[in-house]
């Protein structure tokens, strides 16, 4: 069973977590162009690499950020939003 380190609850089975995609800065919806907005809404970085992602530990509803190598599926570190490691 794969384990994920939750910043609040420690190591827990990955089945308790929900993946919510890569952490990406949103453009300002009021001022950006349609094309920039479409790029933000649809386009993704699908290539492998070390990425920062949103995850949620569902039993405790803890949202946090994980740094993960998406090719090797190895979690490098996790932290709560706002609390940069």
């Amino acid at each position: 069973m794969k384990l994920m380190p939750c910043p609040l609850n420690g190591l827990r089975p990955v089945s308790e977590f929900v993946y919510w995609g890569e952490l990406r800065p949103a453009p300002d919806a009021a001022t950006c162009s349609d094309a920039e907005w479409a790029d933000f809404v649809f386009n993704r970085n699908g290539a492998p690499g070390v990425k920062r992602e949103w995850w949620c530990h569902t039993p405790s509803n803890t949202w946090f950020i994980a740094e993960r190598d998406t090719e090797k599926d190895r979690v490098l570190r996790t932290w709560l939003p706002g609390g940069e490691p």
Partner: protein, 413 residues
Amino acid sequence: MPWRLLRFGLSRKHPEPRMFSPSGDLKPAYDVVIIGAGGHGLAAAYYLAREHGITNVAVLEKGYIGGGNTGRNTTIIRSNYLTPEGVKFYDASVKLWQDLSEDFDLNLFYSTRGHFTLAHTDSAVRTMRWRAEVNKHYGIESELVGPDFVKRACPSIDISCSGHAPILGALYHAPGAVARHDAVAWGYGRGACQRGVEIHQQTAVTGIEVKGGKVVGVQTTRGHIATNKVLCAVAGFTPRVTEMVGVDTPIYIHPLQAMVSEPMKPWLDQIFVSGSLHIYISQSARGELVMGASLDPYEVQSTRSTLDFTEGLSAHMLDMFPFLSHVKVNRQWAGMADMTPDFAPIMGKTPVEGFYLDSGWGTWGFKATPVCGKTMAWTVANDAPHDLITGFSLDRFRNYALTGEKGAASVGH
């Protein structure tokens, strides 16, 4: 037969023709370079040569022929989709499939089985009825059937699914079929080779040269090639290739896993899919049960497989077929599915002139192999999207005009 085999083995001449011509060195230039020697890439090469007379073509493959998702899918062929674009496209594919063995002079073991998509809830029944009506409108054999019909067709099924999720009905699609997937790649590959196409295995593309918004060449691990047209047909590797030309796409990669049981006597004629239980199953010509489930829940760009998957799938399989409890799992594997936000593929031209995409094939690529090859060959030869694929262009995301193919993979969404 053993005597003939021995004579063949000892013979110096090897009278059987080789499946593929030996590839030799790369030429300095080709009219078209196709990245990926899977079913899609080889089919495009085959139709480029056969229907458009373009034979100065190199198919580059970093692994071996049909070793990617072509050899990793669960071989189901059907056309009971939901959008008019999807239904027309996959119907054209099913019609091509039916003549393919003769086309190739190679037995693909194409076997029409009948395909059931089970509904366990009222809302699922409603979707099945919707799909059946769209299908009938386009002349495709699909109908909504009740649990009695399902039970008659497959007496071994537990209609109550252990009481958890009783089957209320199903979308029955009689032309649903299975075929040997590696034979498809080999058939297209041989046909393309016979017409002069070169297939280079163990040749990875490391870069694509673009000058003034146009493709001018390809860098490979075996040297440089000059070309003005590149077709990318690499499934789960698509983002790594689009990165080379600076084209942004919505494609994201999740693994899709599958497994087979030990071989059994034939007992399952049909193909069964259950969206609620997240499973699908058919029995191969070898007697193995070929089983799959929904996508892995998060992004991974590798073909690792997990025990979680085997456990979850087996548990749901026992809900439907309790007597399988003593049957062993023989092997499991994974493929990298290139998913799109609307569950429809991305095909055709891109902002880079001469760079064509055949991608976004997620969990639904195998069944489309022939029609993809045909329409992509047309698109590359004419530098304009074929009529059947205009709904699948990369532009649709920029224009907020998505295709919304909810009938795409039968499980998981």
